[in-house]
C-alpha cells in the first residue's frame, strides 16, 4: 500500500513554494552553529558556560529534562497499541515511538556535553551505585533508548528504499543489510508487547526518577517534595501526548489525509486533555500541602526570594494551573469542539507547561538556596546566565530534533501494517 504524501506549500503572490529545502537549510545552519559551540565546550571544558559552583545545572539540564518529558507519548501509546491492542491507534503509535526516540536521543546528546568528563559517559553502566537516582536514570535511558530503537526499526523499514532500489542490485551488501533489517523488524514487531511492557516499566521508573533526582535532596527546600516524581510522570504523559496530537495533525491530517481518521486524532487529544486535568488536580493538591496546609520556613523564604526576582508564583498559577486546566478541558471535549485549530492551540499549553515545570524545578532550588550558617540561615539568591556556547549546543540538539522529525514527516510512509497479519 502506497501512501500519498502532500507537502504543504506556502503561497507567495501567485507562486506556491515548497519551503522544505529552506527549512532544512535553516536547521543545518543551526546544526553548524551548534557544532562550533560543541567544539569549544569539548576543547575548553565547562568553564565556557555560565554555570558556577552555586548553579551547577543550567540550560542543558533543563533541555534534557524537557526533551525526555516530551518523549512521554511513546510509553503511553506503546501500552495502548501493544498491550490494550487498540488497533485504531496503531499508526499514531508509530509517530509516538518516533517522538520518544527523538526526545531521548536529544537528551542523551545534550547530557554528553554537560558532563565534565564526556569520555567517561559509560561509567554509570560499569560502576554501579544503585542508591543514586542519576545512576538509575542513566541505566533506564540507555535501556529505553534501545527499546525505542527496536520499536522504531519496523517503522523505518517501511521506507520505499527497503522495498527495492537500484542500489540493492548494484551493491549486494546493501541488499543483505536490507534483508537483515527487514527480518529483524518483523521479529521485533512480533515481540512488540514484550517491548511495550519493558518500555512502560523503564519509562515510569525514570520519568519519576527525574523528579526524584531533585526531590530527594532534603537540604534544598522547594526541591524536597514527595509528589514531584508522580508529577513528573503525569506531566510527561500530558506534555508528550499533547505534542503527539499537535504533530499528528500536521503529519496525518495535513500531509497524509485519509490515513488516520479524525476521530482517532480527537481521541489522542482527549487522552492529552484527561491527563492534563489529572495533572493539574495533582498539582493543586501539592501546592495546598506544601504551601497552604503546612509551613516550611525554607520553602516560604525560597518562594519569597524567587518572587522578588521573577514571577515565580504567577508562573505556577498561570502556566501550571489555570491555562492547563482550560486547555485540558478543551482537549477533553475534542469531539464537541471539532476544530483542529482550536485544539492545536490548546495542545501547545500542556507542552509548554511540561517544559515550564522542569525549568522551574531545576532553577528554583539552585537560584534560591539556604545557607548553612547555624544561627541566621538565609536564602541566598544566585544568578546564572547561559553563554553563547550553551545556546549553541542547545541550537545543535534542537536542530537535530527538528531535522530528524522533518525528514521523518516528509518521507516515512507510516503504513498500516495490521492487514498483513
Amino acid at each position: 500500500m502506497q501512501t500519498t504524501i502532500h507537502y504543504p506549500k506556502l503561497r507567495f503572490g501567485k507562486k506556491y513554494v515548497d519551503i522544505f529545502p529552506y527549512w532544512i537549510g535553516l536547521l543545518i545552519i543551526g546544526v553548524l552553529f551548534g557544532l562550533v559551540g560543541a567544539f569549544v565546550v569539548l576543547r575548553d571544558g565547562l568553564q565556557v558556560t555560565g554555570l558556577s559552583n552555586k548553579v551547577p545545572w543550567g540550560l542543558w539540564i533543563s533541555i534534557d529534562l524537557s526533551s525526555i518529558s516530551l518523549g512521554g507519548s511513546a510509553f503511553v501509546f506503546g501500552v495502548i497499541v501493544y498491550l490494550l491492542r487498540i488497533k485504531r491507534f496503531e499508526i499514531v503509535g508509530k509517530l509516538a515511538v518516533l517522538l520518544g526516540f527523538l526526545g531521548y536521543s536529544t537528551a542523551g546528546m545534550v547530557l554528553l556535553f554537560d558532563l565534565g568528563q564526556p569520555l567517561r559517559f559509560w561509567h554509570p553502566i560499569v560502576f554501579w551505585q544503585v542508591h543514586s537516582l542519576l545512576w538509575e536514570i542513566t541505566m533506564c535511558v540507555v535501556l529505553y533508548l534501545t527499546v525505542l530503537v527496536a520499536e522504531l526499526l519496523p517503522v523505518i523499514v517501511e521506507l520505499p528504499f527497503f522495498e527495492g532500489h537500484p542500489l540493492h542490485e548494484k551493491y549486494p551488501i546493501i541488499k543483505k543489510a536490507v534483508e537483515l533489517a527487514k527480518s529483524l523488524s518483523h521479529w521485533l514487531h512480533k515481540i512488540g508487547p514484550v517491548l511495550a511492557v519493558i518500555g512502560l516499566t523503564l519509562s515510569l521508573l525514570h520519568q519519576a526518577s527525574l523528579g526524584a533526582t531533585y526531590s530527594v535532596l532534603y537540604g534544598r527546600g522547594v526541591w524536597f517534595n514527595q509528589s514531584a516524581p508522580t508529577q513528573f510522570v503525569f506531566s510527561a504523559m500530558s506534555g508528550g501526548t499533547a505534542l503527539l496530537f499537535f504533530m499528528s495533525v500536521i503529519i496525518f491530517r495535513v500531509m497524509r489525509p485519509g490515513l488516520v481518521k479524525d476521530d482517532v486524532l480527537y481521541d489522542v487529544a482527549r487522552i492529552a486533555g484527561g491527563v492534563t486535568l489529572l495533572l493539574t488536580y495533582l498539582r493543586l493538591w501539592d501546592w495546598a500541602v506544601t504551601n497552604y496546609y503546612s509551613f516550611d520556613r525554607n520553602i516560604t523564604l525560597q518562594t519569597e526570594a524567587l518572587n522578588a526576582i521573577a514571577p515565580y508564583s504567577m508562573a505556577f498559577w498561570l502556566g501550571q494551573a489555570l491555562l492547563p486546566a482550560i486547555a485540558g478541558a478543551l482537549l477533553l471535549s475534542a469531539k464537541s469542539v471539532k476544530n483542529f485549530r482550536y485544539l492545536m492551540t490548546a495542545s501547545v499549553i500542556p507542552i509548554f507547561a511540561a517544559i515550564l515545570t522542569r525549568w522551574n524545578y531545576n532553577f528554583a532550588g539552585l537560584i534560591a538556596s539556604s545557607t548553612y550558617d547555624p544561627y541566621t540561615p538565609v536564602i541566598r539568591v544566585s544568578s546564572y546566565a547561559p553563554t553563547w556556547v550553551e545556546f549553541a549546543v542547545a541550537s545543535l540538539v534542537i536542530s537535530y530534533w527538528l531535522l530528524a522529525f522533518s525528514f521523518a514527516a516528509r518521507y516515512l510512509p507510516f503504513k498500516s501494517s495490521h492487514k498483513e497479519h
Binding site: 559552583n53 551547577p56 565534565g116 568528563q117 544561627y375
Partner: protein, 273 residues
C-alpha cells in the same frame, strides 16, 4: 568565559543577609536554639562507637578561638594546589541572633550519612571505613549531582585545567597531592595523603603534624582539633567531652557530620546545656 563567584560573602552580601535577618529573625532563632540544645546530646551519643572498630576521624572547631585569619584555607589551597576560587575550606563571617559576628570556618563535614555519597551515580564519592568521605578522581564523570546535593556547599567543580602554582604557595606550604583533571568535582580529603602514610609510620593523626590535616596544623590559635572519635584519649574526643556545648551544622538534616563546633560563647543564651 565565566568567572566563578567567590565563596566568601562580601560586604554587599552581608547587607542583604541583614535584610533577610529582619524578615526571619524570630523563626530562625527558634530553630537554632532548639538545634543547639539538641546537638550536644546527639553529638555525644554518636561520637564514639560508630563503625565499631578502627578509627573514625573527626574534627572539632572552636568558634571562640577562630580569629578569621584564613590560614586553614590558605594551607589547604597550597597543599592541594588550588586557585583562590576553588577553596575546599572557607571562612565566612556570620552572626548570632543577637547580631554579634563570628567566624565560621567550614571544611567538608565528612558526614556519616553523606548526601554526596548516596547520589553519586558511579560511586566516585565513597565513605571510607575510617569515616572520611573520599573521591576517586579517575572515576568521576563530572555530573555535579554531589555538588547539588551537598547541604554545606563543600563541593567544588574543577572548571579549568590545573594551575601551575597555587597563589598560597609557597607561603603556606607546597603541593602535596596530585593535580585533578579538568571536569571532575573535588573535595576536602581530611588530608588522607598525610593520615594514611602517617599511620604506617606509626604517627598519630591529630598529634603528629606530619599525619594531621594541613588546616589543623596551620591554625595559629589551635581552634581546630583533629583525631579519632572512637578513641576516648584522642585530642578531639577529650576536647569534645570537655566542651560545655557542641553543635554541628544543619543538624536537622541528619547528615551526622564528623565536624563539630563549639558555638560562640559571647551570647549568653548559648552557654551551658
Amino acid at each position: 568565559m565565566s568567572e566563578i563567584k567567590k565563596e566568601a560573602p562580601d560586604s554587599e552580601n552581608t547587607a542583604s543577609r541583614r535584610d533577610f535577618l529582619k524578615l526571619t529573625g524570630a523563626l530562625a532563632g527558634a530553630a537554632a536554639v532548639a538545634q543547639v540544645a539538641i546537638t550536644n546530646k546527639a553529638a555525644h551519643a554518636s561520637s564514639g562507637g560508630e563503625e565499631g572498630h578502627g578509627p573514625q576521624w573527626g574534627m572539632l572547631i572552636d568558634i571562640n578561638l577562630c580569629i578569621g585569619c584564613q590560614y586553614c584555607t590558605f594551607a589547604c589551597e597550597a597543599i592541594n594546589n588550588l586557585a583562590d576560587d576553588m577553596k575546599y575550606c572557607v571562612v565566612t563571617t556570620e552572626t548570632t541572633q543577637s547580631g554579634e559576628e563570628f567566624f565560621l570556618s567550614r571544611p567538608c563535614m565528612h558526614c556519616q550519612e553523606a548526601p554526596c555519597v548516596h547520589v553519586c551515580p558511579v560511586r566516585a564519592t565513597f565513605k571510607r571505613p575510617d569515616g572520611i568521605v573520599a573521591m576517586d578522581y579517575t572515576r568521576c564523570i563530572g555530573c555535579r549531582y554531589c555538588q547539588v546535593a551537598c547541604p554545606y556547599d563543600a563541593r567544588v567543580f574543577n572548571w579549568r585545567d590545573p594551575i601551575e602554582l597555587s597563589p598560597q604557595s609557597p607561603t603556606f606550604g607546597l603541593q602535596e597531592v596530585d593535580n585533578r583533571p579538568r571536569g571532575v568535582v573535588e573535595k576536602c580529603t581530611f588530608c588522607t595523603h598525610r593520615i594514611d602514610p602517617g599511620l604506617e609510620r606509626g604517627l598519630v593523626p591529630g598529634i603528629d603534624p606530619q599525619a594531621t590535616p594541613a588546616c589543623v596544623v596551620a591554625c595559629p590559635t589551635t581552634a581546630r582539633i583533629f583525631g579519632d572519635l572512637n578513641n576516648p584519649e584522642s585530642p578531639v574526643s577529650v576536647a569534645l567531652s570537655e566542651a560545655k556545648t557542641i553543635m554541628r551544622l544543619r543538624e536537622e538534616l541528619s547528615t551526622e557530620p564528623h565536624v563539630y563546633y563549639i558555638p560562640p560563647q559571647t551570647d549568653n543564651r548559648f552557654q551551658g546545656s
